[in-house]
């Protein structure tokens, strides 16, 4: 470690910026959540815990959270399985490997909301290509955006299209950084491909897998833009995620105080859920595995 | 012209003391080697002199000027690192020239100085290469060159040869020694290798657990170590330590009388260097009977490992042509005046 009187020159600007742009607004949100600020009464009064009491019984809010977690669950499971599968396929020397790698990371680079607009034309019930292609196989037209089940699936398909690429590149990078010795040991011990995967690759990949899952979990729990462009939360409120609801309540209906309280509850639940997930997953994936043995 | 005075220096990392009460004066033009096992605090002391770390207590003065609050760049010291620490994004020329450029020396002078140093270290043909295109030995030469271009008051070396293989280490050791003979600059050199310490130093400072154990010329350290630690650390193979007793002015190991005890009495540790144990005939004092368990011919001489009748291990260094075989029994006696006695409790020298 270096030692210098100047060290604060390095850290402080960014730290202050972060506090000013994130922490201060967050504290302000807490204060707002204790006020009755809305369209008719835009002032920072104090109404105590009323907003929170109202939030507890707000069925639509809790429904949106249920929708969100169900969506996140589907998205992450598919993205992990597909991403890991693709990474395993491209791990070893493959003809045109670079071509596939570049292609496979394109989706995570492009603007989600713009792609959602394109996807909306693809999902169009009568004019879109998806139902057209399905009809080649004799499958009747699916009402993608007007029935709740298909709409939910459409959101998941777009998310998987976009973010499998992220899982893929992280897991591929992880695979490429694995040490070679355990594989040589496994080969000497006569382990086949499946045993090698179960006993060597998977445990060695556990830490990076966990990291990738947690990052995706954090990012996907913000899910809102795709829904804004694709379904506007509909039909009904069947694809309404919490972020989308907060946007509607806060910046469309201008129920500032109430939305602030919803935000705080949402944030608290998310942090708790993430912590529990991270803890239990790390115990499950890393804790139980001893040193690599075949 | 530079004298370094370290006085009363302590360095603590939290509750752990890395250096305790260090007093050391490095005289003008002197080559001082700090030696000790890892964790002895030798590198920390060097880094405090360089200004890379701040002492918790005490002071460092260069040429009578207190260095408190003076940045490394303003101390007029140059340092050679163990990991060479060459700038990977610059070629050799730029690496050598960087310190002059940043100090605003004009182009022509920089060019001349760099070429002089390159010539001197025989690295002229490497000037356009990047560090990653060179071998370990070449990199370390460049690192030494970087210090030479500076022409500083003080040279600091932090284990500069430790990452090199044995042969290169010997070669570069002589390069460093020659340079010092020619330039006569005050130098402080850190190593864990006692051979480097013995060969390079005007004076050696032996450190252990953050304390100075002994300061002295290499021969003094070898011939009169102040305690068991220094005795065991300096010299390879290490000094033999045997349990003995002193009474009535005589030291005995088992039943064998091995030398004069001086004022010591009671249980003692008897230290005898491997080359000071002489076989039959050559020794003039009592004999230790020892069974030969292993023979290692080293070329110039032969190392013989034995076990005494009392079950103590001994290493003996014999001349090249001595015919000794495993299973033989030797009768060994110490050379006159080459017996070191240490207190078994404190480790301090007794004679």
């Amino acid at each position: 470690m270096l030692d210098s009187r100047y060290k604060h020159i390095f850290l402080l600007p960014a730290l202050l910026a972060l506090v000013a742009i994130i922490i201060f607004p967050l504290i302000y949100t807490v204060r707002l959540s204790l006020s009755g600020w809305d369209v008719n009464f835009p002032e920072l009064d104090y109404i105590g815990w009323d907003n929170y009491a109202r939030a507890i019984t707000d069925g639509r809010f809790w429904d949106s959270m249920g929708t969100l977690y169900l969506m996140v669950l589907f998205c992450i499971v598919f993205e992990y399985l597909l991403g890991f599968g693709l990474a395993l396929l491209l791990w070893k020397d493959v003809r045109a490997g670079r071509f596939f790698r570049v292609l496979f990371i394109v989706p995570m680079c492009v603007t989600p909301v713009v792609m959602a607009v394109v996807w909306r034309t693809i999902f169009h019930e009568t004019l879109g290509p998806l139902n057209d292609v399905l009809s080649w196989f004799g499958i009747p037209a699916v009402p993608w955006l007007s029935k709740s089940g298909p709409a939910f699936a459409a959101v998941v398909i777009i998310d998987v299209w976009q973010w499998t690429s992220f899982m893929f590149i992280l897991l591929l990078a992880g695979l490429m950084s694995l040490p070679r010795e355990p594989y040589e040991a496994a080969q000497i011990d006569g382990a086949g491909p499946i045993r090698t995967f179960v006993h060597v690759t998977f445990p060695l990949m556990a830490p990076i897998t966990l990291g990738a899952l947690i990052i995706r979990l954090i990012e996907s729990s913000k899910l809102m833009e795709t829904i804004y462009a694709l379904t506007s939360g509909g039909p009904g409120s069947s694809t309404e995620t919490t972020s989308y609801l907060l946007y509607i309540r806060g910046l469309r209906e201008f129920q500032i105080g109430y939305t602030a309280s919803l935000s705080i509850i949402y944030l608290a639940i998310m942090i708790i859920a993430l912590t529990i997930f991270a803890r239990s997953m790390s115990r499950l994936m890393i804790g139980r595995q001893g040193p690599v043995r075949v | 012209m530079a004298e370094v005075v370290v006085s009363g220096v302590f360095k603590r990392f939290g509750p752990v003391a890395a250096l305790e009460e260090i007093d050391l004066t490095v005289h003008d033009n002197e080559f001082v080697v700090l030696v000790g096992p890892s964790g002895s605090g030798k590198s920390t002391l060097l880094r405090i002199i360089a200004g890379l770390e701040r002492q918790s207590e005490g002071s460092v003065a260069i040429d009578g000027r207190d260095m408190a609050g003076i940045a490394p760049k303003d101390r007029d010291v140059a340092m050679v690192f163990q990991s060479h620490a060459l700038y990977p994004h610059m070629n050799v020329f730029d690496n050598l020239a960087f310190n002059q450029r940043i100090r605003g020396v004009d182009r022509k002078t920089v060019d001349r100085k760099v070429r002089e140093v390159a010539e001197r270290l025989e690295i002229t043909e490497l000037l356009r290469r990047r560090p990653r295109q060179m071998s370990g030995g070449q990199r370390q030469r460049v690192a030494i060159g970087r210090a030479l271009v500076r022409d500083p008051r003080i040279f600091l070396f932090d284990e500069p040869l430790s990452n090199l293989d044995a042969e290169l280490r010997v070669r570069l050791r002589t390069v460093i020694k020659r340079l010092h003979q020619e330039m006569r600059r005050t130098s402080v050199y850190v190593t864990h290798d006692q051979v480097e310490a013995m060969t390079l130093a005007d004076r050696v400072v032996v450190l252990r657990d953050g304390r100075i154990e002994q300061i002295g010329a290499p021969d003094d350290l070898y011939e009169r170590p102040v305690n068991g630690f220094v005795a065991g650390f300096i010299g390879s193979p290490a000094m033999n330590f045997l349990q003995g007793t002193a009474a009535e002015g005589v030291v005995r190991i088992g039943e064998t009388e091995t030398g004069a005890a001086g004022a010591a009495s009671g249980a003692v540790i008897v230290g005898i260097r491997p080359e000071d144990l002489l076989p039959d005939g050559a020794a003039d004092r009592g004999r230790l009977r020892a069974l030969v368990t292993l023979v290692e011919p080293m070329g110039a001489d032969t190392l013989v490992f034995c076990t005494t009748d009392e079950g103590q291990e001994l290493t003996v260094r014999l001349p090249r042509y001595t015919a000794v075989h495993e299973g033989e029994t030797l009768a060994l006696g110490p050379r006159e005046g080459a017996v070191h006695l240490f207190d078994p409790e404190t480790g301090q020298r007794l004679n």
């Binding site: 600007p13 730290l15 020397d93 493959v94 570049v102 394109v106 594989y183 382990a191 804004y228 | 620490a85």
Partner: protein
């Protein structure tokens, strides 16, 4: 094991008999090609649609120009036409997006690399918290959902008169990008040996010179990765652009999404979508070089 297999494959210990290996290879390429088709499908569809006109759309899905529909460049020329003449006039939003994302990326990189270097090289203490906690504090800001911050941002920017301005949006983006920069760069700085800094300090640099003359040039790959990620995130943001700007400032993503609800023909919509994601596709090509070259870390080790 057959001899023609690449050495790498042999080392990884996957030994298979000839027939099984051939089957495996066929399935592998089938899977890769299937996913590749899935990935490019939306782009191809958009490309095809962008050359269509009414007849190519309203009769159901068509794909191949000339064969199934008569291609026109109407969708593309609409990008540059004024709204009064049925165009979308994308130049303005394009330029705005470019300016906002480049400026916010620069600021975030400047502040973030300084902080990451500080965290990698110096010891900081804030009560019981040390360097790792501060680093985590930076990175953990990614947890904050934009929807939670939108309300206070909206009010605070309104108080300060920064609502619907480039500056207001840039400030918000800097906060969003800082954690990414710190995350990438701390890792990179940690792989550069500290002796380089020390050598520079002794050679005559002050800490700030040591940082930008010695350490930063050796972290160029990290800077590239951080820069590209920042551009991707700021260029792609929709939520803050939607909620914090409306009239004076128009960025690309909201412009396109609003077209979507304004009954703008599919062909102009597709063309504008393609134009807006084109820089990002180019970035993907560069990014792959760095990301797949092992982990983020370990690029510099000699």
């Amino acid at each position: 094991m057959s001899a023609h297999e690449p050495a790498r494959e042999r080392v990884r210990g996957i030994a298979m008999s000839g027939l099984k290996a051939d089957l495996y290879r066929v399935l592998k390429y089938a899977a890769l090609i299937a996913w590749a088709i899935f990935v490019v499908a939306p782009f191809l569809w958009a490309l095809s649609t962008s050359f269509k006109s009414d007849p190519g759309v309203v009769g159901g899905a068509t794909y191949i120009p000339f064969l199934e529909y008569e291609p026109t460049v109407d969708g593309w020329t609409a990008l540059f036409r004024d709204t009064s003449s049925g165009g979308i006039s994308m130049q303005g939003p394009y330029l705005s997006s470019l300016v906002v994302s480049l400026i916010s990326t620069s600021i975030a990189l400047f502040l973030g690399t300084l902080a990451a270097y500080g965290l990698s090289r110096f010891t900081f203490r804030a009560g019981p918290l040390g360097n790792n906690d501060i680093t985590f504090f930076f990175i953990s800001q990614r947890i904050m959902p934009p929807a939670v911050l939108a309300i206070p941002y909206f009010l605070l920017l309104r108080f300060t008169g920064l609502l619907d301005t480039h500056l207001g949006l840039i400030l918000v983006y800097v906060a969003m990008l800082l954690p990414i920069v710190v995350w990438v760069m701390v890792d990179f700085f940690n792989t550069v040996p500290i002796e380089l800094d020390e050598a520079a300090l002794i050679d005559g640099c002050n800490p700030i010179q040591a940082f930008y003359r010695i350490i930063l040039p050796n972290c160029a790959p990290g800077m590239v990765v951080a820069t590209l990620l920042c551009i991707i995130f700021s260029w792609s943001d929709f939520f803050f652009a939607l909620t914090l700007t409306f009239a004076k400032v128009q960025l690309l993503p909201p412009t396109i999404v609003i077209l979507n609800s304004n009954k703008v023909p599919w062909w102009s919509l597709s063309a504008s979508a393609l134009v807006s994601v084109l820089p990002l596709v180019i970035i993907a090509f560069v990014l792959e070089r760095y990301l797949a070259r092992g982990t983020l870390a370990g690029v510099i080790r000699e």
